[in-house]
Amino acid sequence: MNAPAPSDSILTVRNLSAKVAGQQVVEDVSFDVPATGVTALLGRNGVGKTSTIKGILGLIERKGELTFAGERIERLRTHKIVQRGIGYVPEDREVFSKLSVAENLRLAERTSKPRRELVDNLFPDLVERAAQKAGTLSGGQQQMLSLGRALINENRLLLVDEPTKGLAPIIVSQVADALAEAAKTVPILLVEQNLQVVRQLAEDVIVLDGGRVVYTGKAKTLLDDETLIHRFLGVSGGDSHPAPSVASATSAQEERA
């Protein structure tokens, strides 16, 4: 018997299972994403966080029940799901390297009234580099462009996958600030390895291990408890990055891919 979705959830995930190249990487995952604030999806490397995000969007083979803003979406194609109001910031940015910054943003616009001003204000660097090919941007600038693509539409949920991965500390801070600003108007499901960023942004956490949900609760409760952090993430509270899981080698391969 599935648990009913709380009325203040924007997204409910029930019994989500996902495969990559025929291998099970997410297994029977259920959780809710509140309609406000940032919810962090945590776990050691390779436990299926990215696959969960991709599964929600239908970018990989999956089954399960997905309800977004009261509408079942698991049978919809990816572009239809996104058109319902979900912005996606993928792991490794995935900007279109041969398109200019302006073209990347224009491509992402889904309505005739894109939020150009918001994106320009959040990332003034992108305005200066509008004509530059995205492939020539630094990692931090590419991440801002990737975030800009998600923020340029008035979404009802953002799925943000490891936005600070591989970035210099000062850029991490800028990205975190941008996400904090975005979170004032749109709920975010955030996959993040950097626990300091999670502490700064997230109100709720969901922890995966071995492709399953092993903990849900308030972010503060988890992050203030060394025992819980060590148990679920394999690090001490002072460390930023969780250790790899030994439980899900296949998932680790997928996330690296």
Binding site: T78, Y88, L99, L107
Partner: protein, 290 residues
């Protein structure tokens, strides 16, 4: 000197025909990873449609000739769109099935064309100017070659402008790079697939009408023979690269003309060039996919 000019310009004329076929092949593969072996059938049907139109309305008039190009383009585009919608769409990311279906379609359509128009070449007439020659630096160049080159340049410019300045063009360029991310931005990339097939089919249809004038006849086999060289050009230029296809078309055809003129081994030289490119630069001259 005059021989060099002659071989160069006639080579570019032949390369123009290669490009008209290869441009569609390259775009289709670049966006959809589909190797379309039925592309020659778009060309053949376009050629027959152009000929059917021209013979009814006076094949020796310029107006009819130009309209026959449009008819060939429209028929090629419609055939290509139907192929995409009815056969290819269900087979994306299923490479073996795509090859089987497109090869099967190519064979079936040739048989169909034989049934409708017969196996023998049907000779055609054209505006008188096309049969004449123009002297360039001492070389007598058949006039029709200039027409093929002009048509290919116009098609190239039109496609480049379309890709550069329209939203669909933007989607196609992004889709060639990362199709799933385009979808993840809320864009139905399938409509871009259909459009690319239409563009490729239209270019092949124009190529079909021009190829029939190049040969002096139209036949059910006109597409198949050009398709082989178009595939070679597509691979040498780099799968998915329009500019690569344009450069490779010119290089391959000019080389072929020179080798044919001096040693009679044009086709062999082209195949050797293909082998060299595959060995030394598997992604082709300007391609990103090996």
């Amino acid at each position: 000197m005059s021989t060099i000019v002659l071989l160069l310009i006639t080579g570019l004329g032949l390369g123009a025909l290669y490009f008209l076929v290869a441009s569609g092949l390259s775009l289709i593969y670049g966006l959809m990873d589909v190797l379309n072996f039925a592309h020659g059938s778009f060309l053949t049907l376009g050629a027959f449609a152009g000929w059917e139109f021209a013979r009814r309305f006076g094949a020796d008039s310029w107006g009819t000739f130009l309209l026959s190009l449009l008819v060939g383009a429209a028929v090629g585009a419609i055939f290509a769109v139907l192929t995409e919608l009815l056969l290819i769409r269900k087979l994306y990311e299923r490479l073996i099935e795509q090859v089987l279906v497109t090869v099967g379609l190519a064979l079936a359509t040739v048989a169909l064309f034989e049934g409708i128009w017969g196996q023998d070449p049907i000779y055609l007439t054209a505006p008188a100017w096309m049969g004449g020659q123009t002297n360039v630096l001492g070389a007598s160049i058949p006039n029709d070659r200039f027409l093929y080159i002009a048509a290919a340049v116009i098609v190239l410019i039109a496609i480049v402008l379309f890709l550069k300045f329209t939203r669909f063009g933007l989607i196609i360029r992004a889709g060639v790079e990362n199709r799933s991310m385009v979808t993840a931005l809320g864009i139905d990339v399938r409509s871009a697939f259909t459009l690319v097939f239409a563009i490729g089919g239209a270019a092949a249809g124009i190529g079909g009408v021009l190829a029939s004038h190049y040969n002096g006849y139209v036949s059910p086999y006109i597409g198949g023979s050009l398709l082989i060289f178009a595939f070679i050009v597509t691979v040498i230029g780099g799968l998915g690269s329009l500019s690569g296809a344009a450069i490779a078309s010119a290089v391959v055809a000019v080389l072929q003309q020179f080798a044919n003129y001096h040693w009679g081994i044009g086709d062999l030289v082209v195949v050797l060039l293909l082998a060299a490119v595959l060995l030394l630069r598997p992604s082709g001259l300007l391609g990103s996919k090996a």
